[in-house]
Subunit: 489 residues, 2 copies
């Protein structure tokens, strides 16, 4: 039967189809287990041959549609699989998924109260609750389409705070502004410096120490150097939980320097911010309350489905002052309710998908205690993983673990204890990519590797999936070693 064109679902035609889709997802995605593969690897060239991407003139039958949805699942990575440990997201939370499905069915745009009443108040409530966990002077924020956009928005707020005329007049009448950020900061700082018209070269990297933290003295030195060049030191971007090593910049010391020079302090806690929920590990975020703005991504550590990212600010009303434009077709002044509940004009986006509900329903499902338990389990596992790396002759830790990230090298036999050979780093550089290639082709484990500064390619173990056990950690190390032994006998 050809699918009809009408966008109102008809129970007679569509219920059965939608239920079959749900059954397919239950069977092949949602309840994936260790016995399943993480992925069925195909090169781009192979996949183009095996998957029918074409778009037809006439519609497909429902049976055909189910078949291609099945194929989509077949060739997609199961990011909810316990051995998907490739990124700063993983784990498919069933309550988060339920939240997404409900959000999709309501298909709201969260710009005015009238169109999204529950989600509008819910966003405010969640923002206030998270703010409370940060500190007493915090109460305001917005949701963003990802942490990069949140970091960029914070940069715009910092500029507006210092030069309110930037909003109307632009930057060409303003002095050069410099952003100071860790040399291990997320690359969005550079991307958005370019996008905002500030220029990538005006992001100055601050040296990090051997575990990846900013050295506070370097911040003050850099500020002096900026001033000496006649530029404006606009802001410092500190990171709580760097992408690769999971390092935590010393916020207290940095905040003191920022205060002294009246510089905006933005904290990119996209990855580390979820620790707010853990009494045991909250101390890693100490000082966060001294920031001017913070990005936290619940879709990372807290395993909320993508995307769920928050930007929090301290300055009263700055989001509205910096972003508002007062479009009359949307934010009418003569509404039948208190239009101050229409939050859309505080945003840069117009239409905006609801990202709060999945987080809120997960919070209801687990409670704050459930999130805490989740985090503490992840931290314990990372500690165990680090211990195993240290205990084994075939693995070497890159630097001391600060967080859930464990960065390590697998050492082929011929490199063990051979730090003195001249091309040691060049040799080591080639190891991780080859092991990863084998794992992916097996479909057994997805585990990221990368170089960092002068360090050759190393693996980063990082999971947001608290179903992982010590056995899993052992399996992953054994698996790498087994592949390594075969590749580099």
């Amino acid at each position: 039967m050809m699918a009809d064109f009408c966008p109102v679902p008809n129970p007679d035609v569509h219920r059965d189809f939608l239920q079959k889709v749900v059954d397919l997802l239950f069977k092949n995605v949602v309840f994936t287990t260790r016995r399943d593969k993480v992925l069925l690897w195909k090169t781009p060239e192979e996949l183009q041959g095996e998957f029918d991407f074409t778009l037809p003139q006439a519609g497909d039958s429902q049976d055909k549609l189910l078949q291609i949805m099945k194929n989509t699942v077949k060739f997609s990575v199961k990011t909810g699989h316990p051995y998907f440990i490739n990124q700063l997201f993983s784990g498919l939370d069933p309550y988060g998924l339920a939240g997404q499905w409900l959000t999709d069915a309501l298909n709201a745009s969260v710009y005015t109260y009238e169109v999204a009443p529950v989600f509008t108040l819910m966003e405010q409530h969640v923002i206030k609750e998270v703010c409370k966990m940060v500190g007493p002077q915090w109460s305001d924020g917005i949701f963003c389409p990802g942490g990069s956009f949140g970091n960029g928005t914070a940069m715009n707020l910092a500029r507006f705070h210092k030069f309110p005329q930037a909003k109307l007049k632009g930057c060409n009448i303003l002095p050069r502004m410099v952003v100071l950020a860790s040399e291990e900061c997320h690359y969005s700082t550079y991307k958005f410096a370019a996008f905002l018209g500030m220029g990538e070269d005006n992001v100055w990297p601050l040296k990090t120490d051997d575990v990846g933290q900013i050295v506070p003295e370097k911040v003050e030195e850099a500020i002096q150097a900026v001033l000496l060049e006649g530029a404006v030191p606009l802001m410092v971007v500190a990171t709580l939980g760097t992408t690769v090593r999971g390092a935590f910049d010393p916020i207290h010391a940095i905040a003191t320097i920022c205060k002294k020079y009246e510089i905006w302090l933005h904290v990119d806690a996209a990855w580390g911010g979820g620790l707010l929920f853990s009494q045991k590990h909250r101390a890693k975020l100490n000082g966060i309350e001294a920031a001017n703005s913070i990005v936290i991504n619940p879709h990372k550590l807290l395993a909320v489905p993508q995307q769920c990212s928050m930007l929090l600010v301290t300055h009263p009303d700055i989001l509205h002052r910096c972003h508002s434009r007062g479009a009359e077709y949307l934010f009418q002044k003569d509404k039948y309710y208190d239009a101050s509940y229409d939050l859309g004009d505080r945003y840069l986006q117009c239409g905006r998908k609801c990202d709060v509900f999945k987080f809120w329903i997960m919070w209801r499902a687990k409670g704050s205690c459930g999130f805490a338990k989740h985090i503490d389990t992840l931290m314990d596992l990372a500690e165990y993983f680090e211990q195993q790396v240290n205990a084994r002759p075939d693995f070497v830790l890159v630097s001391k673990r600060q967080y859930v990230n464990v960065c390590f090298w697998y050492l082929p036999r011929y490199l063990r204890g051979k730090l003195n050979i001249s091309d040691y780093n060049a040799q080591l550089q080639k190891v991780a990519p080859q092991i990863k290639a084998v794992m992916v082709k097996h479909g057994s484990v997805m585990l990221n590797y990368q170089p960092l500064k002068t360090l050759p390619n190393f693996f980063r173990f990082v999971s947001q999936n608290s179903a992982l056990t010590k056995k899993d950690a052992d399996f992953i190390l054994d698996h790498i070693a087994e592949i390594g032994d075969a590749l580099f006998p």
Copy 2:
């Protein structure tokens, strides 16, 4: 039973819960009918009392979670309801919904091929297919989190094209740049001019005629004025389908002027671009192929679930040159596959939810012909609606219809034929808000109103739901008249 904290779904615990959520959505959202209310109106203050937003320490039971999900649905607007005609999106497409549900279950981030193989190739395929419909020299683009962000990204590309040094050096070393846009353009042009460091005041509004189109002569006049001020006329933003009136700017004439002065032409076809699929109405987009960049939102006219927004460009490789940063932890050069398939570095975002699948599966379900039929049905209905407005003494058209938008006033008896009274506009200004308030409180119809330039508040009929019939159009007009008669006897 308290929900467990583990983010791997367990069939024994979660299947039944997820199925109950699906049943709830089937019953109360997905298959909504004309007999249901569009919304159950509560003021923000009332809703705060009736809905429990609190976030607990310990988790809720699954029964409790189902109850609060039911409540969420109860107090939310049914944007799929045929009488939700409040925005430039509406209609819940069952295939689009199925696509979203699958996307959610896979929870991918579309930045590298290895993490999202199917979606990566699918994005490229869909972009190429849409480009083909635009014109032969088109082949490249990206997906954006909404049309505002797409318009802003186009502004950044225009700047980079003119001043490649902007990326590294920033704007403070560059001359003042001016963006020319219709006075009826979307407000995102202003918001992103501020965000990009170009300044809202450097967006110059171009006069529109009495149906809302840019007057081409005004473009050239404005360019001359910009040059006279010693500023750089950077780009023209033309709109195909303005937000309020659905006007189509004369692209051919504007493109000729842009070519003459070597100015970037961006076409905001977020709302109108879907017409690419209709042979009958495609001509409204004539000239679009002469642009340098285009934004099209399939989540608008084509009723793809939110959000699905595309930015298309002509300049080869400009997305990569303008946006790339080459983060080594994500875009490794030594991968086990051709890393040119990793498209993430062409984006400003890092993590990015997949927005293509719902569009692709709808396209498969309906075929291009199904989208065409959808559009033609909407256009026919709008024509009928306009005819009825013209035929009735109690309604007046604001300006001749160009598109799906029909802008009209309801005239209370005491204002009919009284154009000469001195406070006519002030009186008329108050009418639409009062009628809307009654409709919303009834939960019968959601229909937007707004002022425009010097025109007092008027209604905008606009539907993306091709299930609407002439009977529905009659009902809506009758319903407004009935409420109007009662309010203004």
